[in-house]
Amino acid sequence: MKNILSYFLRFILYLILIAPLLLFIAYGFSTRWFFPAPFPVEWTISTFDRALNDSRTLTGLRDGLTIAVIVSLLSLLLAFPAARAMGLRQFKGRQLAWLLLFLPTVVPPLAIGMGLNILFLQLGLAGTIFGVVLGHLIPTLPYTIFTLSSAFARYDENFEHQALALGASPVQIFFNVTLRMMTPSLVVATLFAFLISWSQYLLTLLIGGGKVITLPILLFAAASGGNPSTIGIQSLLFVLPPVLVIAFTARELTRHGEDIKEQY
């Protein structure tokens, strides 16, 4: 009896988890689904078709992906040496560095965006993809650094020393020892950066100033008064990359799930 209840509760939990996806599919691939029909009456791929030929949606997809990929790579490049220092070394000002990194994770994007809005207008970065990338780095960098430095804290430098003693060159050591041991954490860190950038709305809006269009911007506009089919398709396109990414990295993620805090 207790088992049945447990299965039932678990079933409900999983149902809630996939319900949004089913809902978007139902709305996105149906047409003339009027109140009060409980289920879609007529299925179609025309909305989907239209979205794939719609230049705004395509631009949104392309720019959003470009930005998210560049942001993830840059975060990784910048975070790697920083995390190594934070994870392995004790140095003066380490506490302060932590605090400085903690700041952007709690300062709301609203305030960051408003501040950068004026600054970037002066620098001529407003409305450019590069400007948006810089803006996104503010929330992504702390998370990549936190994730990588907690991995470096468990990392044993003696492996590198040993390789050195055995005559490996610094380049060989980096690629064959350091990078290889860090791979799982690197995957998770990149994933976090990608997700945070991909789903960013306010920073893109405030820095992009309506010139840089990403999917969240389109979805937000549709959600405040578009037709349900469009909303369904755009939501599907929007969650597709995260869903794929999470499905592929599920194993690493379960170990680091607590690291990703609120930004996302």
Binding site: S6, L9, R10, I16, L17, A19, P20, L23, F24, Y27, F35, P36, A37, P38, L78, A79, A82, R84, M86, A97, L100, P104, V106, V107, P108, P109, L110, A111, I112, M114, G115, I118, L134, L137, I138, I145, L195, W198, S199, Y201, L202, L219, F220, A223, S224, P228, I231, G232, F238, V239, P242, V243, I246, A250, L253, T254, G257, E258, E262, Y264
Partner: protein, 262 residues
């Protein structure tokens, strides 16, 4: 490392400098924004109501979910909780809108069961006066987040206390009250404060699931900020600084609790 944190300091400080540059013109903006009859107070009350209610409910449910999952351990459940990450807030809010609006999926089901006959008989659950939609959204979104935090603590605790208490005749509720809750309280409190700060300062969800009046503080701030009238713009800045100050304060308290645990 130095480079990265410097980059931050610069970006951050420059951001703040331009804010201050704005504010020497805008002591008037402070007065205007904080005037007794300004919409600020309504929005502040609304935001506080939504954030506090959602945080309290989410923490309570998260505690129950975590305790339940801890008693039935499997790897896949942690995975399931992480699945939540696949849905950005904006998407989750959109889903809620399609489920709960007066012509949404649940209203259709209610109608086909004959519970209601027209759309206006379905209760207003999203875009409502009391922020119910926004609260529901955050309960759904933050339960997994908080449950993972609680689970992490529970799994690091020896099971002994619970067993001893059970042997001494403590019932389920007593064990929860006197053993589990004290164990997880610091972490849960620290997490809840972060959640509160996040809800209080986020824009998308109240913008999608809220209505024109009363509106959440961040929504009001952005509305002012994007106003063509430049005086309103500095009022938006003032509001955003107030939001930031409140969130920072809460985050600092949260950090204190988080440290105590270690």
């Amino acid at each position: 490392m130095l480079g990265a944190s410097l980059l931050y300091a610069i970006a951050e400080s420059l951001g703040f400098i331009s804010v201050i540059g704005q504010s020497d013109v805008s002591f008037r903006a402070y007065r205007a924004a904080l005037a007794a009859d300004s919409e600020f107070w309504v929005s502040l009350a609304f935001s506080l109501w939504v954030s506090v209610t959602a945080t309290l409910l989410a923490s309570t449910f998260a505690l129950l979910v975590a305790v339940w999952l801890n008693n039935h351990r499997t790897q896949s459940d942690t995975l399931a909780l992480n699945w939540n990450l696949a849905f950005p807030h904006l998407v989750f809010a959109t889903a809620l809108l399609l489920f709960l609006s007066q012509s949404g999926l649940f209203a259709r089901w209610a109608a086909s069961f004959g519970l209601i006959t027209s759309t206006d008989q379905f209760p207003v659950l999203v875009r409502d006066r009391y922020g119910i939609g926004i609260i529901l959204h955050y309960i759904g979104k933050e339960i997994p987040f908080l449950a993972l935090i609680v689970l992490a603590v529970l799994r690091s605790q020896p099971i002994g206390y619970d067993v001893v208490a059970q042997n001494l005749g403590a019932n389920r509720w007593q064990r929860l009250r006197h053993i589990t809750i004290p164990q997880v309280a610091p972490a849960l409190l620290s997490g809840s404060l972060l959640v509160f700060g996040f809800i209080f300062s986020s824009y998308e969800v109240p913008a999608v699931l809220g209505i024109g009046y009363p509106r959440a503080l961040p929504v009001l701030a952005l509305r002012f900020f994007l106003d063509p009238d430049l005086r309103a713009r500095s009022e938006g800045m003032v509001l955003s600084l107030i939001i930031t100050a409140i969130v920072m304060l809460v985050a600092m308290v949260s950090l204190k609790f988080g440290e105590k645990k270690e």
